[in-house]
Amino acid sequence: MNLTETEPTVREKNRQHTNEPSWLSETREQALARFVELGLPTLHDENWRFTNVAALKSFAFEPAAKPAPHGVTAEDLKPFPFAGFDGNKLVFVDGRFASELSSVSKLPNGVKVMSLADALVTETDLVKKHLFRHANIEKNAFVALNTAHFHDGAFIYLPPNAEVEGPIQLLFVSTGKTDGATVHPRNLLVAERASHFCILESYVSLGDATYFTNSVTELVAGENVSGQHLKFQDENPHAFHITNLATHFGRASQVTTHSFALGAKLSRTNIHAILAGQGLECVLNGLYLTNVSQLADHFMVVEHAQPNCASHEYFNGILAGKSKGVFHGRILVHPDAQKTDAKQTNKNLLLSDDATVDTKPQLEIYADDVKCTHGATIGQLNEKAIFYLRTRGISLEKARRILIHAFAGEIIERIGCSSVREELDRIIWDRLEKDQEIAVDK
């Protein structure tokens, strides 16, 4: 989209969301105006120095008003991760809720697992209380763009003390039929006091078109909540994927977010964690596995706003071909946030001479009694370990895969739910098995 042509889009948007309440349409208009002001980030923007999104200029950011029937069947979803899992599952095809592919059952009292578009109608008060409160349109062009254009996404609400059996799956499938198309999934996940959650948010494609996913997830965890949020991104190798995960953690909560970036030509995962209550602990855990000319960027801001909190970031990258990894972790400790314990680790495994990684830790500390550490490593596979494995009869290729898998395993093992952990482990191993290039020494 050329930014000078945004005016017609504002008018079109109004046509598309005519039935919406005014609080929503006003926010959309503000967001679009803000997006026009901000424009797409460029390499001159400090937070986008390593990731060039200029190619997005040619995309139509507005989703099709009345999409053709998608024709996706349950059979089509079988190859995707977690397909064999029972339990609650919301499926979205090209950003629209596909109720016929979804299943919601066995929900405890007060728990909501539904499409956000439906929730805007039936759970207005709950939605209104949280939506737009955490993902900031002021500073972030992609959040603004999503806010202006989103059609649907998931709404999950857990009342105090609630617990849902098994992981709740959100599956975002792109049919990938149209070049230049954009989807803007929007999710609102709210876990009230002392509830427990495990939510899987997956982004996958069926077709090979060059499309753009611009998702925003707001995750609110109250006091004493424990939970795991896992984002799995494996879109087609032409796709662009930008996610903003805005989280707000309450007192004594224990939440882990996981990000697995395997697919897309360019992916950027922004995680903004606000540690808003005392004595909480959060873990941001992630793995990127790229090849050919892929780029996977993780940009984290961990904001310690209260005392006695711990945050740990663990990100491992495995880069083959000419692919590129970016890790940018900013830890911001507010003046009141004494006794903060913030730790950040980024480890990268370069499997070819042409793979690169940019890693940038950033500490901004305004309190005086804190413990903040960060470390980054970039290296190759351990030759001694490869030789050791070979002297036991294991082939060079398998030895390499075993070691790469072990490196990925450091991240996978932090997944709290065993069925999810095993599934991810299998996916990563399959990927390594399939990828001949990864096993070859270069």
């Binding site: 351990n382 030759e383 001694k384 370990a385 030789f387 050791y388 494995l389 070979r390 002297t391 036991r392 009869g393 294991i394 082939s395 060079l396 398998k398 075993i402 070691l403 898998h405 072990a406 490196f407 395993g409 450091e410």
Partner: protein, 256 residues
């Protein structure tokens, strides 16, 4: 006459223009235990590395025939599948790689190579638990990552445990005694001795005679400056212990 398991002829090798092995001759027959002793820098570990296929050495002359095959033409994994085993002087820690998984992969590679069906996880576990007792190792070793966080003694015992699982035709033990206290040394030696058969062979590489009190060799060779300068029976080890390397080497030099 029996065919040798290993026949090294005039082996010359080194790294980057520096010759380390200057013509090694050594023949090992089935059922034999050989010990190569030598001071630091004599080429002991180079020899072990070349036999196992470690990269970085250049062989400039000679040949190594292992069971009628040109050993040096084989990759490290092919050598292992053919029955060559190196117990490392410094076993490598491999975080994140489960010991059972690792051993099962290794074991099944060899079985595949021999045309035998692979063992599944349950069968393998039953087999391996048997072997773990031999080295007086704890079962939990099987759940841990390969060598990770093991004590020096545990690492060495783990090497022999792997040897017990893989049942090599030729086991090369590189300084297996170093860093072991006397109790651990006895356990390791018992393990090695119990694995001795009429159709396999063991090559012990060591600086000290101590190991040879527990694993009694049929032949002892003194390696010095890249050559075997003296060979003899087990009594040579005791002679070395009494006289020290210098005197033995001096005697040989005088004779030559």
């Amino acid at each position: 006459m029996k065919k040798p398991i290993l026949a090294i002829q005039n082996l010359k090798a080194g790294v980057e223009n520096r010759q380390i092995l200057k013509g090694i001759n050594l023949t090992i027959y089935p059922g034999e235990v050989h010990a190569i002793m030598g001071p630091n820098g004599s080429g002991k570990s180079t020899l072990a590395g070349i036999l196992a296929g470690r990269a970085g050495y250049e062989v400039t002359d000679g040949e190594v025939i292992y069971c009628d095959k040109d050993l040096l033409a084989l990759s490290p994994e092919e050598r292992a599948r053919e029955g060559v085993f190196l117990a490392f002087q410094y076993p490598v820690e491999i975080p994140g790689v489960n010991s059972t998984y690792f051993l099962k992969s290794a074991y099944n590679e060899t079985r595949k190579h021999r045309g035998l069906p692979e063992l599944d996880a349950m069968e393998f576990l039953a087999f391996v638990k048997e072997r773990v007792k031999l080295l007086e190792l704890k079962d939990d070793l099987l759940k841990r990552s390969v060598n990770e966080g093991f004590s020096g003694g545990e690492k060495k015992r783990n090497e022999i445990f792997q040897m017990a699982v893989l049942e090599p035709k030729l086991a090369i033990l590189d300084e297996t005694d170093s860093g072991l206290d006397i109790d651990a040394l006895k356990i390791v030696a018992n393990g090695v001795n119990s694995l001795k058969r009429a159709d396999n062979a063991q090559l012990l590489i060591t600086h000290y005679q101590r190991l040879l009190d527990f694993i009694v060799p049929d032949f002892v060779h003194v390696l010095y400056d890249g050559r075997i300068v003296k060979s003899g029976g087990k009594e040579l080890a005791h002679e070395l212990e009494q006289k020290g390397y210098e005197e033995i080497i001096h005697e040989t030099a005088v004779r030559a």
